[in-house]
């Protein structure tokens, strides 16, 4: 419904008046609005200022708050720093304690070290003392050594002199042996030869006694010749160099017996020997020994029927012992130790010819081979000569 004034006289809406009214109202309204607008703007202005102020305040507060916060952070930082410092301080203290302890330890150690050092020093001093003693000892030993060296030199010189003397003596012995071999034999040849010449050429002028005497002269000359030969052989056995090699004692024995058989073809002697009997010795010297031993066996079985000579070997503690056994005249064991002495004979020359040098020569040969020789026998029941030859020496 429209307000009354806006209704027209006929009763219809009065539009013109309504529009005027509205327009009027609108104008009023517009003014008011404008006023309100202004007021609002003022308010807004005020409000903006206020807001600016507020902002400023707020900013200030915020600043204050910020400052305060920073302050607080700083305080906290300070506090933390203090705490840290305190912590650090505590650590420092711990460290200091440790350091102190370490220092104490070091001091203790140092003390111990000092003690040790003192010990070491004492030890060094002792060593120096010892060294001094040692030095004097060394000096004494040096003097002793020098003396000993001098003594050795003297000994060497005297040894050289002795050697030279020995060489000279050997040369003299050589010369002597040579002289004996040549010069002593020649007169004997004359004695024997011319005695025989007398017996042959002047047989008619000589009576039986004279002939017998010339016979004795010849026998003596021949005996002396054998003595010279035997002594030469003995001397050679001592002088000769020892050259060992394998030697068959059985073969040597067969040769020796064959020679003896040639010299006395009428003798019948049975040689019992193994096919071979090996030893390690100087061929020449061992031959000399076997020639003497077998020669003895041959000689002393000269009056034995069924004469038998045996060469063999037995083992003594695993080592070979050679033996030459005969069933001849034998000997009295009471004189067994005399058998090997030079010129010692257990039989008279009329019983059995001999010079008493043969077994001494045999013993030298065996000794030069590092061996032993011994004999067993009984009068009328033969003799056995045992000997060893050191193996491989």
């Amino acid at each position: 419904m429209l307000p009354d004034g806006l209704i027209t006289a006929d009763g219809g809406p009065n539009y013109a008046s309504a529009i005027l009214n509205i327009l009027e109202d609108a104008a009023d309204e517009h003014v008011r609005l404008k006023e309100s607008q202004r007021a609002v703007l003022n308010i807004l202005d005020d409000f903006t200022d206020e807001r600016r102020r507020l902002d400023a305040t707020q900013r200030a507060v915020l600043n204050i708050l910020e400052d305060s916060n920073e302050e607080k952070l700083r305080a906290a930082g300070t506090q933390r720093a203090v705490l840290n410092i305190l912590d650090d301080f505590a650590d420092e203290r711990t460290r200091r304690d440790a350091t102190q302890k370490a220092v104490l330890n070091i001091l203790e150690d140092s003390h111990a070290e000092q003690l040790r050092l003192a010990d070491a020093q004492r030890a060094v001093l002792n060593i120096l003392d010892d060294f001094e003693i040692e030095k004097s000892n060394v000096e004494r030993i040096n003097i002793e050594l020098r003396n000993e060296v001098a003594e050795r030199v003297r000994a060497e010189e005297s040894l050289q002199r002795a050697n030279a003397a020995a060489d000279e003596a050997n040369q003299e012995l050589e010369a002597f042996s040579y002289s004996v071999a040549h010069d002593l034999r020649a007169p004997l040849r004359s004695i024997d030869g011319f005695s025989l010449a007398l017996l042959e050429d002047y047989a008619d002028s000589l009576d039986d006694t004279a002939k017998t005497y010339f016979g004795h002269v010849r026998e003596a000359a021949q005996h002396m010749a054998r003595l010279i030969d035997d002594l030469l052989s003995l001397s050679r056995v001592t002088r000769a160099e020892l050259n060992r090699s394998r030697i068959d004692l059985a073969a040597v024995a067969r040769d020796v017996i064959a020679q003896l058989q040639r010299d006395e073809p009428d003798r019948a002697v049975d040689l019992i020997a193994p096919t071979s009997l090996l030893a390690h010795g100087d061929v020449k010297l061992v031959k000399v020994a076997l020639t003497n031993l077998l020669g003895n066996a041959w000689k002393f079985t000269g009056k034995t029927a069924d004469a038998r000579i045996e060469l063999g070997e037995i083992l003594e503690s695993g080592h070979p012992v050679y033996f030459i056994r005969d069933n001849g005249a034998g000997f009295d064991m009471a004189y067994a130790d005399k058998l090997f002495e030079v010129f010692q004979r257990l039989h008279t020359v009329t019983e059995f010819e001999g010079t008493g040098v043969g077994l001494a020569t045999v013993q030298r040969v065996i000794r030069r081979h590092g061996g032993r020789i011994w004999a067993e026998g009984a009068v009328g029941r033969g003799a056995t000569f045992y000997f060893t030859i050191k193996e491989g020496a």
Binding site: R189, L196, A197
Partner: protein, 151 residues
């Protein structure tokens, strides 16, 4: 047989006499020339000294050489015999007292044909001379005579 001369080099007159006797005992009648030291032996062999008239080519059939000799020793005599073309094949028998190994070795080294040790027992000596004489003068065929260029 008698043309075969025996040279006996021996300084001991007794041994000389006994050696000659031993040859006679064996019926060896060859001429025996005796040289009483090494120089005489070489003089004879090389026709020097008192043997200048001798003809070297007529060499002795056998030389018996002692070792121990005055002036020039037996070994030296032997070496000179062997060193000379005219006598190098001469039969030389060393006849000596020594049976020392060194003498034997030196004897053979110097060119001895044989080495005989003089036995002391005279009958053995006679036997030795018999064998030596028989061998060298009868059994052994000598070196043919050396032809010396005629002057």
């Amino acid at each position: 047989m008698t043309s075969k001369i025996i040279l006996l080099v021996e300084d001991n007159p007794n041994d000389e006499a006994l050696t000659i006797r031993a040859f006679k005992k064996n019926g060896i009648a060859n001429e025996i020339v005796v040289a009483r030291d090494g120089v005489e032996a070489l003089d004879y062999l090389f026709a020097m000294g008192r043997f200048t008239d001798r003809i070297v080519a007529e060499a002795p059939a056998l030389t018996l050489l002692d070792l121990n000799l005055p002036k020039i020793g037996g070994l030296e005599v032997l070496k000179r015999i062997r060193a000379d073309e005219r006598t190098k094949c001469l039969p030389v028998v060393i006849l000596t007292s020594s049976d020392e190994e060194t003498d034997l070795m030196k004897g053979y080294d110097s060119g001895a044909n044989s080495y005989v040790r003089k036995p002391i027992e005279f009958l053995q000596f006679v036997a030795a001379i018999q064998q030596v004489g028989l061998y060298w003068l009868v059994l052994n065929e000598p070196v043919p005579p050396i032809r010396v260029p005629t002057r």
